[in-house]
Subunit: 312 residues, 2 copies
């Protein structure tokens, strides 16, 4: 198993990525190799300085950086030696089994769709994120930004993608799928959700429990919350801001702690032909470590094969 | 001034509505009369039992109730002696100057549009709600549910409605208007927000500050956040659920306290020809009291005339 990590992605790269990689490597077995994609000499030097063994890692030299504000499509094509472009080249060629980066989200999305490509049958990939449940554990919310405008058929597919992720990554047997909406009744909603409801209801690949509302997101009502990428992104950023407020106010609580993105490392792009994970721009070493471990989980669980089968 | 209150609306009516009305009346001047719409004899008896003076109120007998789950349009037309239908009849005839209810939201919306009607030039009324700012005070978010699907021209009008409300009810001199979106840059967003941005930019009646994101909602970035009613409703209910979590966890904090709907009483329907306020279904006496005081503010500020002028 080869786990690809963009060493140059994220606001605190390469320090936080290297430190996170070293921590992650300690938990890996010999046949699980972490492939560091970035400036090779710089990586080796930093690993040595940290007192770790550079031989425990593989390296691919790709010293160029796609910054946070570059145009995704342009950057990917114009910077073949950037860590992100190189990462997707390796992933496409099967030289790594997963690719994770805390860098430019748009470039990660574009790179994934142009290199390993969308799984046949999937209309559009979606970005999923964790939502902590008040009692314990996590639910999944998708899409959180890959598709600002959605069609009902896309939401119906997101339900399948999210269910498989909840099942095989979180071990939830028959994940409950809720449609994020503005009323409980079947006829409530906007044009999109009203048209999506009957599709979800008839979808035999999921366990649809009906409409859910903003207030239900942190409850046990559903395990997978499905929405368009606009709504999901607004919800995600709003929830993050609440967490930041509790941090600033020094409020310690087990539930709020689980909003900490560091604990789950990153958000997968579901619906492409390989495990691809996007980390938070402000990723700490702990977040990078957990992003690597999530990469490993995605490879081990064969989630991509399971998605392919579902859309076959 | 005649302030209309639906005594039968809300989960804890008529006890909470009567108690709230008694508290509100204590702060009113002699020429500010509270008109209680519901079962007249029952009202008078409860006021007496509470040790208050029934002569300090006006009454309109309307003993029928439109329950929370009745179909709005049917209920309004089939129950002319319901407190909500009667309230709108009085409002339309100028017998009251404002109407507030913690009852069926849909019936309030339909009642407002069918009786006092939409202000000429306004495409669709919107429901506005308060969002507490972390530092102090409140911002406005609209629409939070009147219009699940919106056109850019509607959002452009919501910006004007919200600005006037922020200015004349909250006393914010030149309210900053933000478009709730999923990126800071002008070209980011879904079809709706991308098409709305240039309209807001060219709108000389507002102080447009650009795109805002979910994470900005509680900051000072804007005073008025504009979005479609689907997004707004999801955001509103999510924010409420956070507040409920902090309550359940016994977290006391001045910022979280300001999420308490009781403090601001209710949400105005902006864009109709009279002040109409919708209260939370679970309204307490304190919430009812503040809903009455908000009604008074809306009448005194001449907010309706100001909206009419803006759309003239």
């Amino acid at each position: 198993m080869k786990i690809g990590l963009d060493v140059l992605g994220g606001d605190y790269a390469p320090n936080s990525t290297i430190t996170g990689a070293i921590e992650a490597q300690k938990t890996l077995q010999d046949n699980q190799r972490l492939v560091l994609i970035g400036d090779q000499q710089d990586c080796i030097q930093q690993i040595k300085e940290a007192g770790a063994d550079p031989d425990k890692f593989d390296y691919v030299h790709a010293p160029d950086i796609i910054s946070m504000h570059e145009h995704p499509t342009k950057a990917i094509s114009q910077k073949p030696n950037s860590s992100i472009a190189k990462g997707f080249e390796l992933l496409q060629n099967g030289q790594i089994d997963s690719f994770a980066s805390a860098g430019n989200t748009g470039a990660m999305l574009v790179g994934a769709m142009f290199s390993v490509k969308t799984i046949p049958g999937v209309l559009r990939p979606a970005i999923a994120t964790n939502v902590p449940k008040i009692k314990s554990g996590y639910g999944i919310l998708l899409d959180v930004g890959a598709n600002a405008d959605c069609k009902p058929e896309m939401l119906n597919q997101f339900a399948i993608l999210g269910s498989l992720y909840a099942q095989y990554i979180y071990g939830i047997e028959t994940p409950k799928v809720g449609l994020l909406n503005i009323g409980e009744e079947e006829e409530k909603g906007n044009n999109l959700t009203i048209s999506t409801y009957p599709l979800l209801k008839e979808n035999t690949k999921i366990n649809f429990i009906g409409n859910t509302e903003g207030r239900d997101l942190f409850t046990d009502l559903a395990d997978v919350y499905v929405c368009d990428g606009f709504t999901g992104n607004v919800v995600l950023k709003l929830a993050e801001s609440f967490y930041v407020v509790t941090l600033k106010k020094g409020i310690k609580d087990e539930f709020f702690d689980r909003f900490n993105y560091e604990q789950y490392g990153g958000s997968p792009i579901l619906g492409v032909n390989a495990p691809v994970i996007i980390g938070h721009g402000i990723s700490s070493p702990e977040a990078i470590k957990n992003m690597v471990l999530l990469s490993k989980d995605m490879i081990e669980s064969k989630i991509i094969d399971r998605i392919k089968s579902a859309f076959n």
